[in-house]
Symmetry: C2
Subunit: 572 residues, 2 copies
């Protein structure tokens, strides 16, 4: 059977960095070529990075992307790799509008071009705002084999380009993707890719982006699946990776062109002669998917690392309260950036317990980060006495003096501030705007409180299993949570038990269930009332919170956009 050596380049591009991304593509094409690859496939919009948001609408950006593509084709040829077909996705623009596009670069030129057909416009995606859909397919002939292309969402929808490729006839389908990580998502991908390979009647090469961008993190998890549904290889999650593999392809697919299943199909001959038979290597091992908790930890670490790095920061500063949220955030930061780039600050007030200081110091020692104590009593005292503050106003001033302290250290020393709030707090508005909500990034923003504890235990066990010091102090995990903004204050005074609260929130937010569904699920009506009222009132606070890596189905900000002025009360 005709052979082909194909490279999957699972890379981490940066949004807007056309020159840097072009160099990345050139370097990985060279690596693929050095390993004898005939085709190299990059993720969706690798040249511009993804998602570009409204940059897609800027004429000057689209022009620059087109120009960078043409220059890249010439550069690959000049580097001696013109005979490697490089599948490079980019931002195009024509008379109809902006396009999410993919090109085949070959022999120094842009040999084939195709536009994404299915434009997702739900959840984190706004592609109908940004792009116009394509209705043409370019099938390239390389060494006598017919290679079709589809882009990301094109494989998530029934019909469309995959059906057209199946009708036209192809020997191989390549699919550049930018599919964000989300808990349990990898369970969906493999069967999906298998189904589309069967529909196309050809193996499908799925290459996904890796890396963090704003509040999204892409996990890679690229794969190749045969037309009979067999997983031929799978790439690792959360790291850049190049896999070069040999495929035996049947060849002899029909080569219909013209109007097929609603698409204008064009055949683009690059080279007709099949390759002389060569000794194929064994299939590369498929990487196993990570365990669920490790997968989330790695997602949070990579999202944090890339947000800091791609924004030009090298170090972070955060408040250490001795509690579980700041401990987990610090452990993530150390895993992401190294202990020498993490600055922890204990900021005790007159209401802080002794263990808040000792647990914070213990954490800092365990993870090896910088540590200082900055008591806030003097700052708070000036505000409270001058403005005659009492009650909630006095509580909030403490959180805000901490916020001002962290921002001052950031301005003075150039660290990015990390906010340490979790998803449960954000959901019910249990945080102080301009206080603990201060920061450039919020690593556990999308992690419910009960999952924060689970991750802490998992991380400690993973360390112990490697013979390392568990990073999170046991006391931070086991002690009852408290904001310590007034004497003896406990979270349990203001909030339902976290196990119960997270179950209501999961049903209401992730499950989008209404009041009557929640009653039917067995929750007490008073509890539902109380929780839903808190959630519905907190939208403004959530909007003002820093971004954080999305790991759930419905992350605040990205997936759930509610009015700030909203009189709707569920069940009332």
């Amino acid at each position: 059977m005709p052979q082909l050596r194909i490279a999957l380049a699972q890379v981490n591009a940066t949004v807007g960095d056309l020159a840097g991304n072009a160099s990345l593509i050139a370097a990985w094409t060279a690596r693929a070529a050095a390993d004898g690859a005939h085709v190299v496939v990059f993720p969706e919009m690798v040249l511009t990075g993804y998602p570009v948001e409204d940059l897609a609408l800027r004429q000057s950006f689209a022009s620059a992307s087109r120009q960078a593509l043409t220059e890249l084709a010439a550069r690959l040829d000049a580097d001696g790799h013109g005979s490697v077909a490089a599948v490079v996705s980019y931002l195009d623009r024509d008379d109809v509008g902006p396009r999410d596009a993919v090109a085949v670069l070959y022999d120094g030129r842009v040999a084939a071009t195709q536009f994404k057909h299915h434009l997702p416009n739900y959840g984190v995606f706004d592609e109908r705002r940004l792009f116009k859909p394509g209705h043409t397919l370019d099938i390239v002939r390389l060494h006598g084999l017919e290679i079709g292309m589809v882009i990301c969402e094109d494989i998530w929808q029934e019909g469309g380009p995959i059906a057209a490729l199946g009708a036209a006839g192809v020997d191989l389908v390549v699919a550049p993707n930018a599919s964000p990580y989300e808990r349990h998502k990898d369970d969906q991908r493999e069967p999906l890719v298998a189904r589309r390979a069967a529909e196309a009647g050809a193996p499908l090469v799925y290459v996904n982006q890796v890396g963090g961008q704003d509040d999204l993190v892409f996990d890679g998890d690229s794969m190749v699946v045969s037309e009979s549904g067999e997983l031929l290889t799978r790439l690792p999650q959360f790291v850049e990776h190049l896999t070069v593999m040999d495929l035996d392809l049947p060849g002899g697919a029909p080569t219909l062109a013209g109007d097929l299943a609603g698409f204008a199909v064009r055949r683009v001959p690059l080279s007709d002669a099949p390759l002389a038979p060569y000794p194929a290597r064994p299939l590369p091992d498929a990487f196993e998917p990570l365990s669920e908790l490790e997968e989330m930890w790695r997602a949070l670490t990579l999202g944090l690392c890339d947000y800091v790095r791609k924004n030009g920061f090298t170090s972070v500063v955060l408040g250490l309260s001795g509690g579980i949220d700041s401990a987990v955030t610090a452990a993530l930061a150390v895993d992401a950036l190294g202990a020498s780039n993490v600055y922890g600050v204990s900021m005790p007030s007159v209401y802080s317990s002794d263990h808040s200081k000792s647990d914070a110091a213990d954490l800092a020692e365990r993870v090896g980060c910088h540590y200082q104590e900055q008591p806030i009593a003097n700052m708070v005292e000036v505000f409270v006495s001058q403005l005659a503050l009492t009650g909630l106003a006095e509580e909030n001033v403490q959180a805000r003096c901490r916020g001002v302290t962290l921002m001052a250290l950031s301005n003075q020393h150039g660290h990015l501030v990390l906010a340490t709030g979790n998803k449960t707090e954000l959901a019910v508005g249990y945080s102080t705007i301009y206080g603990d909500a201060v920061g450039g990034f919020a690593p556990i923003k999308d992690v419910p409180k009960t999952l924060v504890w689970e991750l802490a235990r998992w991380r400690n066990e993973a360390a112990a299993a490697r013979g390392e010091t568990p990073p999170i102090p046991e006391n931070s995990i086991t002690k009852p949570p408290s904001a310590e903004l007034r004497p003896g204050q406990m979270d349990a005074d203001s909030l339902p038990d976290y196990d119960l609260l997270d179950r209501v929130l999961d049903d209401y937010i992730e499950g989008d269930r209404g009041y009557s569904d929640l009653v039917a699920a067995g929750f007490a009506p008073e509890l539902i009332d109380r929780v839903l009222r808190m959630v519905d009132r907190a939208e403004y606070k959530r909007r003002q919170y820093p971004p954080g890596t999305k790991i759930t189905f419905k992350a605040f900000g990205r997936d759930r956009r509610l009015p700030m002025t909203n009189a709707w009360r569920e069940g009332k």
Copy 2:
């Protein structure tokens, strides 16, 4: 010719307040009925308010909207107004998905229903995320006249429902709208409505929402245009208004049904017999559009008023620096809420000039708002000495101590904090996050600096023309702008001249022009470099800024959504 008395109910609904909106509709239907109206037309999604954002996706909200509609139909009949055809738009949901819908309530029931066809998905609109398009048209027969319906965007696009109504035959078209205000937008509406009336071959009754919702403000500006393009009446801007008018309609339109121009057209008979001839009233006077500056002032006032009111606040607090931005913000707040609900705070630091205090006090006296002085020197001193702050870190701590002070007063006394930043500052990032950016609402967020001055002069002149005290101190208008965060600091040290800066920003942001276009427009390359670098770096700050009423084509947040991590540098 057959007659009909029609009421345009230009009302201010509240998002999510189904019960309140139903009562509003019932009250205005009663007013219309008392004036003898046969039809009353309300704005788009009046029953739910508009825009509902992702509330549209909640099953329980859609069910509640449908139920509220049915109950409203019964209530109108029970009130004795069953024979008035009430055109009420609402959120519907069927097996296909959520729908932006309009119904005719008649005789105690939902007599006709139709779904919006053209779903805008650009600028401030995300309707393809939220709704599924409709492909059916219900034409009701009332007193022997055929009345067709279209919803908002359906008249902004060529073809579609208007063309189908023209083909089917109607005597009248009614169009509920939720069309947000934007500078110069009313210039577009009248010719558009006239063109669609001609295409439908019937007069068009255009009823637009009025009021603020989040960062949008709806200006009303409802109108009726004859099929020959004559403006028959126009309602005032920025206020609720009921116009009841008599129309002489030709009658005898063809009454085709079935598949027409891609729509399934259904005829819904309500009553066949024409009305006995009655003495028609003269046409009501058409309100003149406001002057451009008054229009903007009113938009900003209404947006601010409704944000405060609909969020359950009655009073606001803001910092008064003696500068033009806080002076204009205070004047807007007083016009919106009354002087007794506005609390001004002067917060001088050691670097504050004497005129900053005297101009602030002068402003407070002119507008009659509450006024207090809260020096921040003691608070700043604790942070600066304890944390050893210098340079920018010291400057920012001053702004942040002011932010903490305002939030403390808000928490203690229940006022909403207003941020006083203008669009130019936001564009270039000339503000302190968690400092002057603190607040629940930012009234002049979308007003460029040069326009702030223009509005101040206009407001003073308007006061003088009425024999009132001009609210803005002359010195606040004429003195050179300064942040006063270090000795002798002037905006001009950090920023280009505001006249020049606003012209570059207008071309870059509103005009979406790229680097080479700006060079071609004659701006110095160094200036373009400098301004664009500042704008591109400030996206994160802009995201954290409070919402404010949109009055321009490209308001930050709503219309221009850029990545926070973005390496793209225009022209580099």
